[in-house]
């Protein structure tokens, strides 16, 4: 109705600050929420779509090189595979590019297409000659290799040079910073790149429908049963790859959803506070409106509309912004999948979000406005101003007894004069501070965990050995260096454990591995061969606990293990084990270390050391300083957390600011009286600042345990999605001083926010205010 609109717009024009508060709060909430919802609705699909489009392999099995290819070609029938690829002859090679050396599995394949594992060539072309190689795009981007570059294969004596002619996206692989990669050469070129123990056969299987993990496990069992013992050396199923791929997005979505709910809650709190405040300040006007003929519903409409209009604008702007913000994250996953990036969002979803957002705002605005509708007109006109808030008396007397200065006492009482409003303000402060705590703590936890995996602070140089170079020679070279303090050699062999479908990785240590920086979550480090540590994922899936003994097979040979501790390792989603290399003494072929973690003496020059050692055997040794930088997915999560914390902190400040505005306006008569009685402008400002400070302090103090619990919880969620428990050290990333400093900082910010309303209150014209009563 026209009258409602005219009045609402007129009021809006006068209440610009409140309109701005509503606009910003709703804008940020809607943007964050849209980002989260868009991600959630779109994430699962791209992987599956890409997987189906490329006819990915549900199961990949590696067979010993001695297996009869004829037998292998019968395997699809054995497990009812609907399509298969291979057998491909594969050789694990090490090549040198620039200063670095890399290991990849070179698969012999003559064309990228086929009924299974159709590879998407994104750059260049497929290999046409024996000296050409195709890499994954993920690998190429990570290590800055381009089409046309040449690499020198150093794992075979002839050290052939291969030219990179193409990049592909292989749907069955994870990203290069998380797992080793395949490469492709012509089938005929493989033998020239092989050494006796570097090659194996690879077969890709595809099944009808969506096979479950259990079905894939039983397929492997059937294969094993039907082939000579020791034929199967490893396997990979797509569910694992999909999980790893989706983790980042799942974590992000989870984090975003949680914090969007926070932002929504904070928005509701602020809107409700604002509307109540406006209604209170407009008591007399409400009476007039009713006297001249506004019906109760029309009165409510006037107030609700003042809120809904800026909120509507905020939604209309925030939803596209949120949708746009989600695109880089979606593009990231599309890119990783080798899909062309298409803007993915659903208009229907956006409209639904718009409707939901508006509905929430309308409800948050209308419920407090109901009071306006129900006010008896005569009561409203008679009361020139609304009932003053009467809470906070006890606080005030307590503060007075504490001999605080009078302006501070008054300010403290004011803060809680209206308990409901104070509570709502506390909510928005709490959410802001708690989020800041998480945004500070979580990246630190990530850093700590990352350091444990990269050995930061414990060893400074990593040496990778080509299979053409002997282990003993490496040890000799390293021990000959004066700066070498300690060398721990690491090898690996896949182990099959009962109850776990996929092979379990192992890290086989020779040397004092307990000082490499790996985190022990429970139990202890191993002290003898046969003792192992494993992450929670393996322990859970294999139904093991500390103290249990169990058997596993490596290269088909049985071994005895005993769990002595739980550790943190996200490789293979928690299916891994740490042990002494001597545990594998009985296994043939022998497990030889390929990697060496070198600790230098304190004060040694790391780059000089690296240069010297790599100069000794440039082709056969890859020597580099440890790279302690965090992986891309974690960087993304850190950035998102920072943005969200900033948003929620802003909203929290906005909440305090809003409440102060309302309070100072309502108490203007009291302030004028105080000024008339001799309170100086500075004292008025102190009064307002004390109000703000108290709200921020209480909110901040409550927020600390909330934030820490949330930090704890998120750590657990993220760790468990990667198949691990959270290491205790990851919880304790705050030092006590910070725990005190954070709420104090909140108080400082709130007091700064109080400057504007404080200055306004300090400048009230006593005569004008008291006269108009």
């Amino acid at each position: 109705m026209r009258a409602i609109l005219v009045k609402a717009l007129a009021d809006l024009r006068r209440r610009r600050v409140q309109a701005a508060v509503i606009f910003l709060t709703v804008f940020f909430s809607m943007a964050a929420g849209t980002m989260a919802v868009t991600l959630m609705s779109q994430t699962r699909d791209p992987y599956q779509a890409a997987f189906d489009k490329q006819r990915g392999a549900h199961l990949q099995v590696a067979y010993s090189a001695t297996t009869d290819p004829q037998l292998l070609s019968k395997t699809p029938a054995t497990i009812d595979a609907s399509a298969f690829g291979g057998p491909y002859l594969v050789s694990n090679i090490q090549f040198k590019f620039g200063e670095r050396k890399f290991y990849v599995d070179a698969i012999g394949r003559d064309n990228p297409g086929g009924p299974v594992e159709a590879l998407n060539v994104t750059s260049g072309r497929w290999a046409r000659a024996g000296d050409e190689i195709v890499l994954t795009r993920s690998f190429a981007e990570l290590n800055k290799v381009s089409v046309g570059d040449r690499v020198k294969v150093v794992s075979v004596a002839q050290t052939p040079i291969l030219t990179v002619v193409g990049e592909v996206v292989d749907i069955d692989e994870g990203s290069a910073d998380l797992s080793s990669q395949h490469a492709w050469v012509l089938a005929a070129a493989v033998p020239a790149l092989s050494t006796p123990d570097s090659s194996y056969y690879l077969m890709d299987y595809r099944f009808a429908g969506d096979p479950t993990s259990a079905k894939l496990q039983s397929s492997i069992n059937r294969l094993r049963a039907n082939l000579p013992p020791g034929s199967i050396t490893g396997s990979l199923n797509y569910i694992l790859v999909r999980s790893i791929f989706n983790i980042t997005n799942q974590i992000l979505t989870g984090v975003l959803s949680a914090f969007s709910v926070f932002a929504l809650a904070a928005t509701i709190a602020i809107v409700a506070t604002l509307v109540t405040g406006i209604v209170i300040s407009a008591y007399r006007e409400i009476g007039i409106m009713k006297a001249i003929g506004f019906a109760p519903s029309q009165v409510i409409g006037v107030f609700a509309l003042q809120i809904v209009i800026p909120a509507l604008v905020a939604c209309v702007l925030g939803i596209p912004v949120g949708t746009l913000a989600s695109q880089p994250l979606l593009a990231n996953s599309s890119h990783a999948l080798g899909l062309a990036y298409e803007p993915t969002f659903s208009i229907g979803l956006d409209l639904l979000l718009l409707a939901t957002g508006l509905l929430v705002v309308v409800i948050a605005a209308t419920v407090p406005a109901l009071r306006a509708g129900l006010l008896k007109p005569i009561a409203a006109i008679a009361k020139a101003s609304a009932p003053r808030g009467t809470g906070g008396r006890r606080l005030r007397s307590a503060a007075a007894r504490a001999r605080l200065p009078r302006p501070v006492v008054l300010g403290i009482g004011d803060a809680f004069a209206r308990p409901l409003r104070a509570a709502l303000t506390l909510v928005s402060v709490l959410l802001g501070v708690a989020t800041v705590v998480v945004a500070i703590g979580l990246p630190r936890s990530f850093q700590l965990i990352n350091n444990s995996g990269t050995g930061a602070g414990n060893y400074q140089v990593v040496v990778n050995r080509s299979s053409a170079y002997a282990d003993a020679d490496v040890m000799r070279i390293l021990n000959a260096q004066p700066e070498t303090a300690r060398v721990v050699a690491v090898g690996g062999k896949n182990v099959t454990v009962a109850g776990v479908a996929d092979p379990v990785n192992t890290q086989l240590f020779r040397g004092d591995s307990s000082r490499l920086g790996y985190l022990v979550i429970a139990g202890r480090w191993y002290a003898a061969p046969g003792e192992v540590l494993a992450p929670a994922g393996l322990l859970h899936d294999a139904h093991l606990k500390i103290g249990d003994s169990f058997t596993g097979t490596a290269d088909g040979q049985p071994l005895q293990f005993r769990v002595v501790g739980e550790t943190y390792d996200i490789n293979n989603l928690g299916h891994s084990m740490f042990m002494d290399i001597a545990t594998m003494a009985s296994v043939k072929p022998a497990a030889e270390p390929y990697r060496y973690a070198v600790t230098l003496v304190p004060g040694a020059d790391v780059s000089a050391y690296v240069r010297r050692v790599s100069a000794l055997e440039p082709d056969l040794l890859d020597v580099h300083a440890t790279d302690t930088s965090i992986i891309a997915p974690v960087k993304i999560i850190d950035t998102v957390l920072l943005v969200i914390a900033a948003v929620l902190a802003l909203i929290g400040v906005g909440g305090v600011f809003n409440t102060l505005l309302l309070n100072t306006r309502e108490r203007i008569q009291d302030t004028a009286t105080l000024k008339a009685l001799g309170m100086s402008p500075r004292q008025v400002m102190v009064m307002v600042a004390a109000s703000a400070g108290l709200l921020a302090l209480v909110g901040g103090l409550i927020a600390m345990p909330v934030g820490l619990s949330l930090h704890h919880l998120l750590n657990d969620v993220i760790s468990s999605s990667a198949g691990n428990d959270t290491p205790p050290a990851a919880y304790a990333v705050f030092n006590p001083a910070e725990l005190v400093l954070i709420p104090l900082l909140g108080v400082v910010v709130a007091v700064a926010a109080a400057l504007v309303p404080g200055r306004w209150a300090a400048r009230t014209n006593v005569v004008e205010v008291l006269h108009s009563e």
């Binding site: 109705m1 026209r2 009258a3 005219v6 009045k7 007129a10 009021d11 024009r13 006068r14 007399r284 006007e285 009476g287 007039i288 409106m289 009713k290 006297a291 001249i292 003929g293 506004f294 019906a295 109760p296 519903s297 029309q298 008896k376 007109p377 005569i378 006109i381």
Partner: protein, 244 residues
Amino acid sequence: MSELVRLSDITKVYQGGVTGALNGVSLTVEDGEFTAVMGPSGSGKSTLLNLIAGLDRPTSGSVAVAGSDLGRMSEAALARFRRDRVGFVFQFFHLLPNLTALENVLIPAQLKSTTSAEARARELLDQLGIAEVADRYPAKLSGGQQQRVAIARALINKPSLLLADEPTGALDTRSGNQVMELLMGLHRSGQTILLVTHDAKLATRYAARVISVLDGKIVDDVRLENAERAAADVIRVRGEETRR
């Protein structure tokens, strides 16, 4: 003349009140009358006005205005009643501060969805001598100007009854006189007016009928004559000496 307002045995008790604000009041007002309701503060005269306007409900008894029984009406219906049938002029003007003068005048018409009210609104402002302040906000108007805007607002929907509660209370003498003259002019054009005032001089000057309220009861209800008496019959000035 037809009956416009009928109050039957009205009682109004407020919570916690020992005596009632109104105690068994019955009253009728005819169409076209200018009636003044007088009484000291707390006598119930404002309560009477509020009940007639439908701003408040009696504890017992019935209120009928322009044929409608207010007791049967919902809040929304009462709002419509106030919009269409009653014009209100308050002591403290009570203009909506965020709207211009013209917008204030138009609101009741807009509530009624009357589309062509602007012409009438401007005409009213003109008749009241304040056409030039149409686009100014109440804060920038003098008391007299604000009250005239309020009168225009009260008249926009051509109400059957104009209620004025101490309309000159917040005005200086000159503005107050102007406002009362305006009301007088409206009455001469046929508007029914009910004026509440504590000022007997004002009441007797303009109203033909004076109702006196005391302690929630009507203690007197008198129609005054327009006798146009000679000065000598009204005032006798005499010096100290009375002897010849």
